[in-house]
Amino acid sequence: MAIEGADTVWVLISAALVLLMLPGLALFYGGLVQRKNVLSSMMHSFVAMGVMALEWVLIGYSLAFADGNWFVGGLGHAFLRGIDAYSVTGTIPTYAFIAFQGMFAIITPALISGAIVGRVKFKSYIAFIALWGLIVYAPVCHWVWGGGFLTGEALDFAGGTVVHITSGVSSLAILTYIGKRRGFGVDPLKPHNVTLTLLGGGLLWFGWFGFNAGSALAANEIAALAFITTLIAPAAAGFVWMALEWRHFGYPTALGFATGVLAGLVAITPCAGFVTPMAAIPIGMITSFVCYKAVGLKERFGYDDSLDAFGVHGVGGIVGALLVGVFASVGGTGLLLGNTSQMLIQLQGVVITIVYAAVGTLLIGFILNRTIGLKVTESEENIGLDKTQHGEIAYNV
């Protein structure tokens, strides 16, 4: 196929929009931690841009998208071998496709950092995301989009399974392995600056238009559909979360609204180009309700999902991946149009991904813990990771 200028422009801009989600995520997470860990938390997002972008062009892209088998791609495009400025994927230059997909590989492991803030060695974090990108992300990306066994079967428009279920479930897996922050359940461990979180949430929503509408890989009607559903679902979800808090606690909190919006964004990701704007409303509302309940589970079961990476991304991703099987009506049919088999395929994709991500993550955690160690010492954790891992602090007198 020939290169289309408009498609290329849209995908390049979308790729840049997705990269802006990383500083957005840094602000979102950075505001939610204690002030002694704000730089460390923000670095988790920022360093992913360095580590994962390199890894993606060296080997990750090839493992995800080069010809291989049902499970993983091959090494045919390692170091971007066999690709040049004139290579074409669909109607866009292959370099544009690699860059756009690379942004997903960058942000996905960074999402996991929300589950482990305040207690992990920085070098171990870097090793973790690098290994995770190869062992968990690249294969699942290959399954769903790169020619693996779910390609053309499971509906996942922009990464509900590839991005959110993998990162959310891995968050739960790694946090059960490394344990709680000291003081969890005893000291307040409150967010130190919710205004940063709100600004970060806004940047995430902005970047998410590139994430979802860019996934059409063309400047066409499906991109426009994905764009408007990315507007509607988070709006409905933010509204529901706010209403639930208002009823239960008497206050519509700012963090609650932002969290609802995020849950809606996660849920609409797999659905974005497959459902109508009117279907985006119940998708956002249902997911917000389920995530609201899921976030409360950590109180009940006592696990320290510090910034709710599992409660929002894992649970939201699972709900979204299942709801696309219910509401799909564009480029696929779901349960509401009488197609029960799609629902079963979605369920199969969800279950396999959950099991694979959990096992893969625990394996990585085990290896790192036995070699370079995962957690900082008790005194380092008390002092804070900004000072002990980076030698600097966020706020001087």
Binding site: E245, F249, G256
Partner: protein, 114 residues
């Protein structure tokens, strides 16, 4: 000379400053502090989870005065900090003896340096 330290509710700071300005007391130091007394704490909600916040935001006011100003300054702080209601957590005023004051620029000491 006396050193006055008052812990008040943050929302009463402007009223206290207005009362002090009526007395033409134009020297004070204000800082944000946190603490608790009989009130113990209150609840904050983050992501649908209640957190007990036992350290409450307070404002600390520090003023050094000559002895004959003491009573009127205390009354001014009291009036401003209490407002119309004076409910629990309105704060406290501590009065300490002040041995000496030195103005760094001129080396003046005692009441002249206040």
């Amino acid at each position: 000379m006396k050193y006055i330290i008052a812990m008040i509710r943050p929302e009463r700071l402007d009223a206290v400053k207005r009362e002090l300005q009526k007395l033409e007391v134009n020297r004070l130091t204000v800082s944000s502090v946190a603490g608790y007394g009989a009130q113990k704490g209150h609840l904050e909600i983050y992501r649908a989870t209640e957190h007990e916040a036992n350290l409450l935001e307070k404002v600390k006011i520090e003023i050094a005065v000559e002895d004959h100003f003491l009573q009127s300054v205390i009354e001014a702080i009291n009036t401003g900090a209490k407002g119309n209601d004076g409910y629990i957590g309105s704060g406290k005023i501590f009065v300490l003896p002040l041995e000496d004051v030195i103005r760094i620029r001129t080396n003046e000491t005692g009441p002249n340096a206040l």
